[in-house]
Subunit: 401 residues, 2 copies
Amino acid sequence: MTDAPLPLAGVKVVDLTRILSGPFCSMILGDLGADVIKVESPGGDAVRGQGRIVGGLSWYFAGFNRNKRSITLDLRSDGGKSVLHRLLQDADIVTENFRPGVMAKMGLGPDRLKQINPDLIVVSVNGYGSTGPYADRPAFDFIAQAMSGFMSTNGTRETGPFRAGNPISDLVAGLYAALGAVAALRGREAGGPAQSVEASMMMSTLSMMAYLSSDALASGENPVPTGNDHPIASPYGLFHASDGDIAVSPSTEAICAKFMAELGLSDLLNDPRFDTNAKRLANRPALNARINDVTVGDTQASWITRLNQAGVPCGRVQSMIEVLNDPQVAAQEMVLDVPHPGHGSAKMTGFPVKFSETPLEVRHAAPKLGEHFEIILREAGYSDQEIEQLRAEQMNSGGSR
Amino acid sequence: MTDAPLPLAGVKVVDLTRILSGPFCSMILGDLGADVIKVESPGGDAVRGQGRIVGGLSWYFAGFNRNKRSITLDLRSDGGKSVLHRLLQDADIVTENFRPGVMAKMGLGPDRLKQINPDLIVVSVNGYGSTGPYADRPAFDFIAQAMSGFMSTNGTRETGPFRAGNPISDLVAGLYAALGAVAALRGREAGGPAQSVEASMMMSTLSMMAYLSSDALASGENPVPTGNDHPIASPYGLFHASDGDIAVSPSTEAICAKFMAELGLSDLLNDPRFDTNAKRLANRPALNARINDVTVGDTQASWITRLNQAGVPCGRVQSMIEVLNDPQVAAQEMVLDVPHPGHGSAKMTGFPVKFSETPLEVRHAAPKLGEHFEIILREAGYSDQEIEQLRAEQMNSGGSR
């Protein structure tokens, strides 16, 4: 570790986002080193009251709002608007995840923002994009999972489509928006224009469909939902060890041969029912039965070690608790324990991108509502007297949450 | 649209990745404006032969390798290594998704790369991270979905865990790696160090678990897989219209009230079985039955219009084919039709991040194997004679695929 500056050192982000997709985007910018000023209504981001609360703190809020500072502003008031304008004047990036058009209604349309600060990069996360017939629809993760085609490919014909248990559309859109923000910043600093960037939940999720979308475009046919089986590879999927299932994915003929060899079933690859991948697909139940007869004779842990050593990707379906206690997760520092003064310490997942010279860290725990009200205003050039007056106006329903 | 430079204009990427997670990362860098030189073994990226083939072209390959140029190099040969070194000398970024340690075995460990080009940013995508007990395991998307906890939260107790139908762990890791690459570039250009960046499939997927991980950390308990129901909101999920299901997610009490009002069921919110969210959760089957009695009386399209207008997020589970023909997808230009000389044109999904001043576009269709062999070598300063000699050495098994 060095004292080298973080990748986004010196970058100022004014963050108007709330709930999940937008705050995930601004958290990533904060993790990368930006100064993120989270502007909250006096009532605070609703997520402050959501998820499990420990010692008065939502660990869900804590996990998605680290590396931010908080100021409350009532953006319906003239005073609040005036402070926001001043904050935007020397910001690099503003982030928002209102419905398209709401920023303009708040007096913050593109032209006005350009007037306030011609160098400002405007980053928006929304449901469907800001143009097109669905632009005005209210968005929610579940609906984006449904509309994007993602759900239709999960589960089996018997179960019908399934959403992912996690809010994947929110998070993928937030991640794309963060990428767009950093790219636009680099472009501006390299001499290009300051510009607006947006990512939508539906289109972001659609962009992740990989061969499911390309094959559908090429064939005009929908993919068949195959559950945990691979649509075009066999053997593949979950098999029974003595103490639970193992997940095995031999992705090539060569790895398939290694898998069968490790099972002592190499001869099956000469069996006329199983001697090509196409036949193994057609006779999947019979093949899986033969494999399960062997795998049931040893433990998950033993198979995972043996098969990986043989070059066959293998693991198991870990529960959240198992993952959070996994030795690899510990080695990768993916569970952080972060002190939150007044609330004890909160655990949260860590940084999935590793930088060799500037490792990311939690420089600020998630802020209390309005915690940085005074310092942010002072940095913006407000006098003590102005700050006292603004405090009375802009923090009236907050501060204790 | 202007002639302004794309966000990553002037950035040179040497791309050693193959299959999916790495090529997705390098495609994003290419989409953003970088010059991406895809270095392929003389046999070519295996994806050239995967997925649906139309007119001799894999649309899967085409969709993940646009905005790249291709050169073949046999990196086991001295000649191939020598060319690669020369390409790296003035590159900004090198991308790779070998198993950890393979780059070092190829003579491209961190110290050697620093020697070749001290300003080079090294971007790696792998399965589990390059340190820790699983670092050496072979990786595959399905296993990362299983090991990260993602699968355990999909489906229901009855169905057991489900993977997502798409290779979500590959793609999320690739997207994080692209973000890391652009951030590291910005950091270097702002005066920070050139550094190595890595993203792993398991940790990237874990980082997307949101309240499922934070609640598990806070409570010590695993989330219950609730399928398409929301674990802590009711009503929510799929309901029956006259011609198929609709997906509805009233995420707050206020939106729930709007939903019930639009159904003409506002009185149920005064019913002692349904007058709080907790009671509605406990009596979900009875509530859903009452809702389905109403929703079955109108069509999907009508409910989607009515509910969204009332402020209630609503959609339907679209198949891939439906999504690809969706008017919003068209308005967002999310299906592109890209000419590939010699193969007709190939359709692919578009750009999920929209830039107001520098819209992204397909500047190069996915390259034929080795298509840019000569021009890339010429740009690197090789003479005609050297190029002819290298062509004989480095393209021997390729060129026609």
